[in-house]
Every structure is written in structure tokens, then in C-alpha cells.
């Protein structure tokens, strides 16, 4: 029983570490042009590093037919865009100040982050 409880505790720590503490690797795009694939419940890449002070152009390719994937929202920038299946969905972001900018679907099931440095 003790073993199981220890295992449970380890599992909880692992969940906390994996989803909250671990900083996933960022994919760097110094030209600020990023192609993002929307499929299987995720944005790929989802941790994107871009240059601050320059316009960012994101191109979303939506393969996922799930209704969740229909919309991408940039809450800090007050931008939202409908993602059409099989279409070139471009989102032009204004020049970003240094910082982190989240983007997600309406349900917050698909999540990504832009880091402007």
C-alpha cells in the first residue's frame, strides 16, 4: 500500500512538473514568418520564438476537422481568426513588444505561445 501511495505522489509531482514547470523548447523564427499546423488537438509548433519590434506573420494550416480547431484567439492582442480547412489562414500580428503572447482555440484546448525577444 505504501508503495502505491508513493507511486501516486510521484505521479502527482510528475504531472505538475510535466505540464507546468517544464519549459518546452522554443522553435526560433528570426524572420518572424511561422507556419503552424493545426492537427490532432495541437498547434505545431506551439512554442514559438520571434523577434520583438517586427511584424509577425503566422500561417495556420488546419487539418483538424474538430470544431474546437475552428478559431484561433490571441487574447493579449485582441485578435481572433477563423481557421478554414485546407485554406491558407494568415494572421498578421502587429509588431510585438518583448514578452509572452498566448494563443489558443475558443475552448482553450489547443494552446500555443509566442515569445517575442
Amino acid at each position: 500500500m505504501l508503495l502505491i501511495n508513493i507511486l501516486g505522489a510521484v505521479l502527482i509531482v510528475a504531472i505538475v512538473w510535466w505540464f507546468w514547470l517544464y519549459k518546452p523548447k522554443q522553435v526560433e523564427f528570426s524572420d518572424n514568418q511561422v507556419d503552424i499546423i493545426v492537427n490532432d488537438g495541437v498547434y505545431q509548433p506551439s512554442n514559438i520564438q520571434v523577434k520583438a519590434g517586427k511584424e509577425v506573420q503566422l500561417r495556420f494550416e488546419r487539418i483538424d476537422a474538430a470544431p474546437c480547431a475552428e478559431m484561433v484567439i490571441f487574447p493579449e492582442l485582441d485578435i481572433s481568426k477563423e481557421l478554414k480547412m485546407g485554406k491558407d489562414n494568415r494572421v498578421i500580428l502587429p509588431t510585438l513588444k518583448k514578452g509572452e503572447y498566448n494563443f489558443h482555440c475558443q475552448m482553450q484546448m489547443y494552446k500555443g505561445k509566442l515569445i517575442a525577444i
Binding site: 500500500m1 502505491i4 501511495n5 501516486g8 505521479l11 502527482i12 504531472i15 505538475v16 510535466w18 505540464f19 507546468w20 517544464y22 518546452p24 492537427n39 490532432d40 488537438g41 495541437v42 505545431q44 506551439s46 512554442n47 511584424e55 506573420q57 476537422a65 474538430a66 470544431p67 474546437c68 478559431m71 484567439i73 487574447p75 485582441d78 481572433s80 481568426k81 477563423e82 478554414k84 480547412m85 494568415r90 498578421i92 502587429p94 509588431t95 489558443h104 482555440c105 475558443q106 475552448m107 482553450q108 484546448m109 489547443y110 494552446k111
Partner: protein, 749 residues
């Protein structure tokens, strides 16, 4: 600017242009293309208009070569995109339903077997073999109809994020894996815990797919308003070129083209009538049910329906510049914005999934440590149920779905709401400031009373007054000239015309002096008007402006002019008051007029002789007192107050400026639009709250029950299948409840 006949005008949407310097770069590149005659780019709208005899693909390529992207603009493409989306949704729905049949096809018989025929325990080797086969079949079904959940869960796990798929995959996976352990190594478990849960896995996959399928269907209906607005656009226009009438595609219509519309036809673009008259049904744009009569010089808008006569009009706005296109864009933008009420749900759903996973582990441990035997079986059931019931997608959907329907609903009633925030604030307004002129009243003074004195007759005197006033630029003069024209009186030339500031006008006709103005003017020329003084006072008390006319030295007539109250203002004001909104009327007019109008419409609180700055101060003063202030005005002199108010309502005639500057634009001139806007806003916010409560009940109450808090007291432990059904229901409930808003009728509230 002239265009030769072979020249065409093409409009492109430019993507990637973010600075003013991009504009010159794009214009220069396009200008260099052989055959291009004129390039104009609208930076705000990112639209470039190109005249010339050039293939569109060449132009697109040119733009792409300098690092931007261009897309040929077409009105039909929008409709096509919607059709395409509908088709894609239908295909997705069918696929989901196939998954449902497959999963429930296995899950339902298994569940029925467990319930009525045999138990699902594994005690003999035959049972083991049979259940092993069932387990493998279940795995096949899970993969076939639930593959997207598992792939999604894995992808998001790799990305260090967790989503709905994670929960479903973990829940169904746990149930299946535990069952397989029972089969492969039964000795590891106590005899009573040798129970399989294959039916749960299959049923959950089936039910969640079913929920998603219904959601796809219901979502399609939420964007109905946009679909209808786009459907209003005509596809062709009958243009007169070189004396010939040609039916051409709507995209080919150019500014200043002359367009013919016959009865029963939709107006293709915005314009100004140059010939003919008709009645036009603008109901889809303004919500105004009565057709409006239009004559030469009047403005018409694309999407409205020509009812009775044939007319010719000049195109003043084409393509994406038409009022209808602006409206569609605005509604779309607003539908995607969220009021702050939804932000809490966003924060919660952002952290939800990992928290639920932790809760599931804790629930499992609690059952193992403190639960009755077979504790492992209870633990598995609890873990699976917690994972399955907790999907926060309903929470995430609660706000956007209602906002989408609410803003669409408003658009159908001719109310354009700029964003979700305005929608929310409008529901909380405690004080509504109404500008008098143009808002409560028509804003156009009209002759209301004509009284003759000293044996004069109207057909002799009115032509004289109108002839005299024809030279004046005073707004009241216009009303008298219009009145004379309506009565078909002729207007003549008056000599020695003179305007006497603050008093009136003077002139000569047939060697007789004409005087028209206020009492002070009469006094100046020693004309006795005492016989009309009682009547004049009564008229003034009725918000009318009396004016005297003297022919020679004889007082001959009195004409009263007033800005009439709109026919439905009183009813609309009653509706607003019934909602508990405190109404304040502001006007630049004098005290007597203000008082009379306020009394007539039933407003107790009014302030007269205010300047635009005073209107702003009034808003500020009330905001300081903690009131949530709405301001309604007709746009220009009210602008500072409209901007300062918590929600500014512009009574718009649909001009670009009004649409762009106000939080809410009431396309219909009536104050009923205002009452409707508040009603829709309140209904939408109520709907969002219902959705949030519903979603929270599923999640927040569902999780502890799933974890088994009720077990020690009532012996209730939720079945994982029930949890699967509840989860499928949660999103569906939210979407359906939002759809319920479509049936809302603001007039009844």
C-alpha cells in the same frame, strides 16, 4: 478620372502590409506592371484597387514577389466559403456518427449483457478467453472510432499540454488497461475485483463522439446571422454603359456606374438615386419593418429590396466599401470578441486538465486506502469517472457561443454591436442620456400650425412667406419652403431681402413690405400682434416656435414650426423606463422647448441649452456617482459624450463614420432600437451566465461526485458511462442553450 472601355477594375485584399511604407512599396510595384493605369491602396482596409488591362494572377504574383500576399476580392467567395464550411461540417458529422455507431454498437450490447444477463467478472478460464476476445475487439473499436482522441492526447502530451483528448484517452485507456490486467494476470487481484470495464471504454468513446456530432450540427446554426447577411448580397447588377444596359457581375461594378433596378430586385451596391422613385425594403439592414419611400437624391444601400418602382442610381460605394460589407465585417469581428465575463472561465479552463489529473490520482489513492473491498475496482471506476466527467470544453464554449448568437441576433434587428465588452456593459446600464434633436425628435423642423389673421387666406400668404424665406439659410426657413412645396404653392422672387439677426427676415414684393420673424421683429416695425399672443404662448408651451408675418403694416399670419417627436419615441421611452433605466434628456434648445418635449415623452430629468462639452461633463458627472451611463445621440456633436459613456449608442443612418465610431450603432432611426439593444444585451448576458453555471455544474459538482464523495453517505458512485454521457451532454447543453437565444424576441421584453 476616365477609364477606357477595355480597362477593368480589380480589387485585392493585401495580406502582410503593416506600415505606411508598405503601401508605397505595393503601389509602386503594381504601377510598374505593364498595362496598369491606376493603383490605389486603402491602407486601413488593406485593399488595393487596380485599374488596367492586366491579368489578376500577374498582379498577385507582383505583390508576392515583394513579400506580401494578395487575394482577389469577390463577394461570392464569402458565400462559397460558407457553403464549403457547411459541406466540411457535414462530412465531419457523418464521420463522427460512423464512430458513434461503431462504438455504441459494441458498447450497448456489452452493457445490456452486464446489466441483465451475466456479470462481467472473470472467474473461469473460458470466461477469460471470451473476455480476452471481447477486449481485443474493444481495442479495435477504440482505435477505429476513437483514434483522434488518442493521437491528440499523445501530441498534446509531447507538447507539455493537456486537453480534452488527454482526459478521454486516460479515462478510457485506464478502464481498458485495468480490464486487460484482470484477464492476463487475474492472480494479482483479489477475486472480487476481477471485473472488466470494456463496455465503459466503448460506451464513453461512442457517447463523446455523439456529443461532438451534435455540437457540429448545433454550431452551424449559431452563425446564421452572418449567413443571412451575406445572402443579401446581389450577384449581378444591371449597369448602363455607353447607352446600353448590361447585366454584369457585382465585382465588376465601378464607382459612378449608373445602375438600373426594377421592382422586386435587390440593390447591388450603395448609391444615390438619379431617376425614378420607389419604395425600398431595408428591413434586413435596419430592422425597420416598413418599406421606405425613395426619390431622386436619396441614398440607397446594397442588400435592400426595391419594391414598387423602377429607378436609376449612381454607384457611390462598391465592393467591400458598401454599408452591407461593413456591417458583415463588423458583426464578424464582434462575434469573435469576448466580454470580460468569459475571462474567468478562460483562466480556469487553462489550468483545468492537469488539476483534474491530479484529482483523479488523489481519488484513486483515497479509494485504495480507505475504500471498501474490492478497493481497486472502486478506485479504477473513480479515476476513470473523474477523468471523463471533467472535460472543461463546455466552460470554454459558454461565452463565445452566446456572444456569437447575441450579436448576430442584434444585427438582424438593425443593431450593430462593436464588441463583446459593449454587449456586456449595455446590460448593466443604469442611466441613459438621450440627445433630443434627431434622437427623440426627427431632427428636421416642420411646419405644424398655420393661422391666418385679418381675413387673409393661406393660399395667398404662404407663397409670400415661402418666397421671402427662400433667400434665408436659417433651418426654420427650410421647413417653411418645404411646406409650401408640399402644398404646391409657387415661390416668387423677392426684392430687397434682408435678414435681421436674431429676429427674422424682411423683403419687398409687388411694392409691399413683407416681414417674417419673432415678436421682437414685429415690435421693431410697430406691428400689433396682441390678438395672437395667447395662441403664441400656447404654441411655445407645446415645444413649437411661433413666427409672425406682416404684409405691409398688417399682421396677417402666424406659423408655428417644431421638430416633431418621432412617432414611436414615446412607446420606446416607456419600454426603457420599464427596464428600470433612468432617462435623462439633453438638448441645446431653450428651456421651454426642452420642458415641453420632455413632458410629452414622459422624461422627468432634462437639461436644456447644453453644448457638446456640457454633454460630456454630464456623462462624467454621472459616472463619478457610480452610475453606468449609456449615451444615445445622432453622432457628430454628441461624439465626445458618446466616446466617454460606458456604452455609446449612435443613431446612425448607416454612415461609415457612425458605424466606425460608436460602441453600438442603431441602424433604424427609432429609439425602439435602443430598447431592443438593451433587451438583447441582457438576454445574452443571462444566457452566458446560464451557460457558465451549467458548465460549472458539470465540472465542479461532477468531479467530487465522480471521485466518490457521496459514497460514504449515500452509497452513490458514478458509473463511468454516466460520466461519458454527462461530458457529451455538457458541450451540447451549452451550444443548444446559446442557440435558444436565436428565438429571443426583444419587443416582448
Amino acid at each position: 478620372m476616365s477609364r477606357n472601355n477595355s480597362t477593368t477594375n480589380q480589387n485585392f485584399i493585401i495580406e502582410g502590409a503593416s506600415c505606411a511604407s508598405c503601401v508605397s512599396k505595393i503601389e509602386k510595384a503594381l504601377n510598374d506592371v505593364p498595362g496598369v493605369e491606376l493603383v490605389e491602396m486603402n491602407f486601413a482596409q488593406r485593399i488595393v484597387s487596380v485599374d488596367g488591362k492586366v491579368d489578376s494572377s500577374t498582379l498577385i504574383k507582383t505583390v508576392q514577389n515583394i513579400g506580401y500576399d494578395a487575394k482577389l476580392m469577390s463577394n461570392e467567395s464569402e458565400q462559397d466559403a460558407l457553403d464549403e464550411k457547411a459541406q466540411a461540417d457535414e462530412a465531419h458529422y457523418k464521420k463522427l456518427m460512423r464512430n458513434v455507431y461503431m462504438a455504441l454498437g459494441l458498447g450497448v450490447p456489452l452493457m445490456l449483457y452486464g446489466l441483465f444477463i451475466g456479470d462481467m467478472s472473470v472467474n473461469s478460464s473460458t470466461q477469460r478467453i471470451v473476455w480476452l476476445i471481447v477486449g481485443l475487439v474493444t481495442l479495435g473499436v477504440m482505435v477505429a472510432s476513437g483514434k483522434h482522441f488518442y493521437v491528440g492526447a499523445w501530441q498534446s502530451f509531447k507538447n507539455h499540454s493537456a486537453n480534452m483528448d488527454t482526459l478521454i484517452a486516460l479515462g478510457t485507456g485506464t478502464a481498458w488497461a485495468y480490464s486487460m490486467i484482470v484477464l492476463i494476470a487475474p492472480n494479482m487481484l483479489p477475486e472480487v475485483a476481477r471485473h472488466v470495464y470494456f463496455e465503459a471504454s466503448a460506451m464513453i468513446i461512442g457517447l463523446i463522439n455523439l456529443g461532438l456530432a451534435f455540437e457540429v450540427k448545433a454550431r452551424g446554426r449559431t452563425s446564421e446571422a452572418i449567413k443571412r447577411l451575406i445572402g443579401l448580397q446581389a450577384k449581378t447588377a444591371r449597369v448602363i454603359r455607353d447607352g446600353q444596359e448590361l447585366d454584369i457581375d457585382i465585382e465588376q461594378v465601378q464607382l459612378d456606374d449608373m445602375i438600373r433596378v426594377r421592382p422586386g430586385e435587390k440593390l447591388p451596391v450603395d448609391g444615390e438615386i438619379t431617376e425614378g422613385k420607389s419604395t425600398v425594403d431595408e428591413s434586413m439592414l435596419t430592422g425597420e419593418p416598413m418599406p421606405v419611400s425613395k426619390k431622386v437624391g436619396d441614398k440607397v444601400v446594397a442588400g435592400s429590396l426595391n419594391k414598387t418602382g423602377s429607378m436609376l442610381f449612381r454607384a457611390t460605394h462598391v465592393g467591400k466599401d458598401t454599408t452591407l460589407s461593413h456591417i458583415i465585417n463588423m458583426v464578424k469581428r464582434a462575434q469573435n470578441s469576448k466580454p470580460s465575463i468569459g475571462r474567468l472561465a478562460d483562466v480556469i479552463s487553462g489550468y483545468f486538465v492537469p488539476i483534474v489529473m491530479i484529482l483523479a490520482v488523489l481519488a484513486g489513492l483515497a479509494w485504495l486506502n480507505f475504500g471498501p473491498q474490492p478497493s481497486i475496482a472502486y478506485a479504477i471506476a473513480a479515476v476513470t469517472t473523474v477523468l471523463i466527467i471533467a472535460c472543461p470544453c463546455a466552460l470554454g464554449l459558454a461565452t463565445p457561443m452566446s456572444v456569437m448568437v447575441g450579436i448576430g441576433k442584434a444585427a438582424e434587428a438593425g443593431i450593430l454591436i462593436r464588441n463583446g465588452e459593449a454587449l456586456q456593459t449595455a446590460s448593466k446600464i443604469t442611466t441613459m442620456i438621450l440627445d433630443k434633436t434627431g434622437t427623440i425628435t426627427q431632427g428636421q423642423p416642420k411646419v405644424t400650425d398655420v393661422l391666418m389673421y385679418n381675413q387673409q387666406t393661406e393660399d395667398k400668404i404662404i407663397p409670400l412667406i415661402a418666397s421671402l424665406e427662400n433667400g434665408s439659410e436659417h433651418p426654420l426657413a427650410e421647413s417653411i419652403v418645404n411646406y409650401a412645396k408640399e402644398q404646391a404653392y409657387s415661390i416668387s422672387q423677392v426684392s430687397e431681402f434682408d435678414a435681421i439677426t436674431g429676429k427674422g427676415v424682411k423683403g419687398m414684393f409687388n411694392n409691399q413690405r413683407l416681414l417674417f420673424g419673432n415678436a421682437a421683429l414685429m415690435q421693431q416695425f410697430d406691428i400689433d400682434v396682441s390678438e395672437a399672443s395667447d395662441k403664441a404662448q400656447a404654441l411655445a408651451g407645446d415645444a413649437k416656435t411661433p413666427m409672425y408675418f406682416a404684409l405691409g403694416d398688417t399682421f396677417s399670419a402666424m406659423v408655428a414650426v417644431a421638430d416633431p417627436i418621432k412617432s414611436d419615441s414615446i412607446a420606446a421611452i416607456k419600454r426603457l423606463q420599464k427596464k428600470g433605466v433612468h432617462l435623462v434628456m439633453l438638448t441645446g434648445d431653450n428651456e421651454a422647448t426642452a420642458k415641453a418635449v420632455a413632458k410629452r415623452v414622459g422624461i422627468d430629468d432634462y437639461i436644456a441649452q447644453v453644448l457638446p462639452q456640457d454633454k460630456l461633463d454630464e456623462v462624467l458627472k454621472r459616472q463619478d456617482r457610480g452610475e453606468v451611463v449609456g449615451m444615445t445621440g445622432d453622432g457628430i456633436n454628441d461624439a465626445p459624450a458618446l466616446a466617454q459613456a460606458d456604452v455609446g449608442f449612435a443613431i446612425g443612418t448607416g454612415t461609415d463614420v457612425a458605424i466606425e465610431s460608436a460602441d453600438v450603432t442603431l441602424m433604424r432611426g427609432s429609439l425602439h432600437g435602443l430598447a431592443d439593444a438593451l433587451a438583447i444585451s441582457q438576454a445574452t448576458i443571462r444566457n452566458i451566465k446560464q451557460n457558465l453555471v451549467g458548465a460549472f455544474v458539470y465540472n465542479v459538482a461532477g468531479i467530487p461526485i465522480a471521485a466518490g464523495v457521496l459514497y460514504p453517505f449515500f452509497g452513490i458512485l458514478l458509473n463511468p458511462i454516466v460520466a461519458g454521457a454527462a461530458m457529451a451532454m455538457s458541450s451540447l447543453t451549452v451550444v443548444s442553450n446559446a442557440n435558444r437565444l436565436r428565438l429571443f424576441k426583444p419587443q416582448n421584453h
